[in-house]
């Protein structure tokens, strides 16, 4: 997997570069917008990590140029601007995800992984499959029903959405803020452990009485739904 990093701050650039290399990605890193635009349009990448504020050519301009040239490489925008409007601007310009600095490495890696594993050509949520299945856990989007083996499980609407997101990203690390953005559709940062409480309720219902737990906590990062143990 080949990733392009366009980031003018040297520390941040090197920080991301090292982390991605260690995680097994091939990395190209440039420090200004012109070089970034040139590389992104001439070579094939699986993902672009794009800083929003760049010298020479601004991040959103690069993004719009890429999309206008029909290059659909997933783009994750990094930005020091964290407000709703900024985020909406970024997503509207065609970015696939938006991460506000400062961010945790684990958050970045989880989001990159989610973008790379996404089925290409779609936006990830318009998945045609109405049935999701992980081990003996089944979720039917149309019937709004969840089963674990033979057992029917009643879920609150938000729990259902949480579970759906986790199952779509099964065997991936999903962070709390990814869950918040996906399920609540509000941009805010909760001070208390709201998501943990919701997940713990969900876990109660899913993993209760089951021999194998499916929802795992990834310490300091978030959650993962899947069979194998970390």
């Amino acid at each position: 997997m080949r990733v392009l990093i366009v980031e003018d701050d040297r520390h941040t650039r090197e920080f991301i570069e090292r982390a991605l290399r260690e995680s097994g990605y091939t990395v190209d890193a440039v420090g200004n917008g012109r070089d970034g635009l040139f590389l992104a349009t001439t070579e094939a990448f699986d993902l672009v990590v794009l800083d929003r504020m760049l010298p020479t050519v601004d991040g959103l301009t690069i993004l719009r140029t890429l999309r206008a040239s029909k290059i659909t490489t997933p783009v994750l925008i990094l930005s020091a601007l964290g407000d709703v409007d900024d985020r909406v601007d970024g997503l509207r310009a065609g970015s696939d995800d938006y991460l506000v600095k400062p961010f945790a490495l684990a958050e970045l890696l989880a989001r990159i992984e989610a973008l790379l594993r996404r089925p290409r050509g779609g936006d990830g949520t318009s998945g045609e499959t109405t049935q999701l299945r992980v081990a003996d856990l089944e979720l039917d989007r149309l019937k709004r029903s969840v089963r674990r083996g033979e057992r029917r499980i009643d879920l609150q609407p938000k729990e259902f959405q949480l579970l759906e997101y986790l199952m779509r990203h099964h065997d991936q690390v999903v962070t709390r803020s990814m869950l918040l953005e996906a399920v609540w559709d509000y941009h805010f940062d909760p001070k208390t452990n709201v998501i943990d409480v919701h997940i713990s309720n969900l876990r109660q219902k899913i993993d209760k009485d089951a021999t194998v737990a499916l929802i795992h906590t990834v310490r300091g990062v978030g959650y993962r739904l899947g069979l194998e143990v970390d």
Binding site: H11, T12, F15, R18, A19, E22, G82, D83, V84, D85, K101, P102, A104, L105, A106, Q156, P157, K158, W184, Y186, H187, F188, D189, P190, K191, T192, N193, V194, V197, H198, S200, N201, R219, G220
Partner: protein, 443 residues
């Protein structure tokens, strides 16, 4: 306005005192003139009487009592002066000559005495009495214009004073009403500035008078004040902004360290707890910057509408499990309300109020949204001392002196800023038991 307030008003006192003073002053000034005029008239009358009586006295000395009677009758017959009055009586009171029907009762028979009396036709008159040889008495009198003069002068004086009183009362009322209106405008401006509209200034009228001069001085003071407050805000904003970079760098280093394999459990734990502390700090800075941006009007006040009841319901859905985990319930009573504003900001406001209620109230929380858009979040905890209520929502203010509860006093400040951003007001009141936060929409 209530009566007491009226009495306390300087303008009212002015409007009453000025005409009274003017009336008193005109009285004091006109009185001596009046007295002088009266004395002058009396002197004239007396002089005329003395001239008359002198002539009669000469006649009496030269021709005796008959000559005197002749002289009186001749004078009366000639009608030289219709204002003169004569009366001559003998010792029995019988009339010997004269134009009067009888001796006036008020006139004592005493030689050379001055007397005032009423003539037969009712007019005021003055006269002098002469005792003549043989117990005869002569009264030489004259109709006096004094009484009618007195009446008309008093009337004129009265009118003058009344007119002065009325005119000055009108002028004072008009003037003080004008002044009061201007001062009220200034007071409203000042009140708006006190309420936080620091950019507002007192209105300067085109007159460029003393009040304008004063208002300009105040405006300069307000400008200084605004600069100072801005400065204080800027300092904390710059702090938040500038400290972010080194913190971010430190966070990156620690983050990398944590990802390196081969760390023992204790080291990893230490790094993770440092990371979460840094994250908290960064979160605080982010909130501060957001607050600053809100207060500086950095967010556009879009014309978008959002379903406030939906937003509140979402927030309640988010926090219901949190409340339940702490053993409390989160009850809601919501009417459908459409409101202008940013749903993300409204969500943040509701979320901050609910978090505050849960964290500080440690009790069940009621959320109510009325059809008129008023939103109340009420806990059943210990509440807040009455004198601290207005300080809730100040930046960095915390009602809990021991600071044992989580938070640094940003959440409610943000909530208030968001409310103000949308033209609403956030107030707090004790609900006994508990604290009630009330968000009232603007008009």
């Amino acid at each position: 306005m209530q009566r007491r307030q009226y009495r306390r008003s300087a303008f009212f006192r002015f409007a009453v005192a000025l005409p009274l003073l003017l009336a008193a002053l005109s009285g004091v000034l006109l009185w001596p003139i009046y007295r002088e005029a009266v004395d002058h008239i009396r002197e004239q009358v007396h002089a005329a009487i003395e001239r008359d009586s002198w002539d009669l006295e000469v006649e009496f000395h030269e021709h005796g009592i008959d000559g005197l009677i002749d002289a009186i009758e001749q004078r009366l017959a000639r009608q030289l002066d219709p204002s003169t009055l004569y009366l001559l009586i003998d010792a029995d009171g019988a009339i010997l000559a004269g134009s009067m029907a009888q001796w006036p009762i008020s006139v004592t028979r005493e030689d050379r005495a001055w007397a005032e009396f009423t003539a037969d036709d009712g007019e005021h008159a003055e006269g002098q009495v002469f005792g003549l040889f043989g117990q005869r008495w002569l009264l030489v009198g004259r109709r006096s214009p004094l009484a009618s003069f007195d009446r008309s002068l008093a009337l004129q004086l009265g009118w003058t004073v009344l007119a002065m009183f009325t005119l000055s009362a009108l002028a004072a009322t008009w003037f003080s009403a004008r002044l009061r209106r201007r001062l009220r405008g200034l007071a409203l401006d000042a009140e708006a500035i006190r309420a936080g509209d620091l950019a507002r200034r007192l209105l300067i009228s085109p007159h460029q008078d003393e009040i304008d001069d004063l208002a300009e001085r105040f405006n300069r003071t307000f400008a200084d004040l605004e600069r100072l407050v801005d400065g204080a805000r800027q300092v904390s904003n710059h702090l938040a902004h500038d400290l972010r970079r080194p913190l971010q760098a430190a966070r990156q280093h620690l983050d990398e360290l944590a990802h390196r394999s081969g760390l023992d459990g204790a080291a990893r734990l230490a790094i993770e707890s440092s990371l979460s502390e840094i994250d908290q700090l960064l979160g605080t800075f982010a909130a501060l910057l957001r607050l600053a941006k809100l207060q500086a009007g950095g967010f556009e006040r879009g014309g978008d509408y959002c379903e406030l009841d939906r937003v509140v319901a979402d927030a309640i859905e988010l926090y219901t499990p949190v409340a339940a985990a702490a053993g409390h319930s989160l009850r809601a009573e919501l009417q459908p309300v459409r409101i202008r504003g940013d749903r993300h900001l409204w969500f943040q406001l509701v979320q901050n109020l609910i978090e505050n209620a849960l964290n500080h109230g440690h009790s069940d929380v009621d959320v109510r949204l009325d059809a008129d858009g008023e939103l109340c979040v009420r806990d059943h905890g210990p509440g807040v001392p009455e004198e601290l209520l207005t300080r809730l929502g100040e930046r960095f203010f915390r009602a809990d002196p021991a600071r044992s509860t989580p938070g640094i006093g940003i959440g409610l400040a943000l909530a208030r800023a968001i409310a103000q951003h949308h033209g609403a007001t956030l107030r707090f009141e004790n609900a006994a038991p508990g604290l009630r936060a009330r968000v009232s929409p603007g008009k």
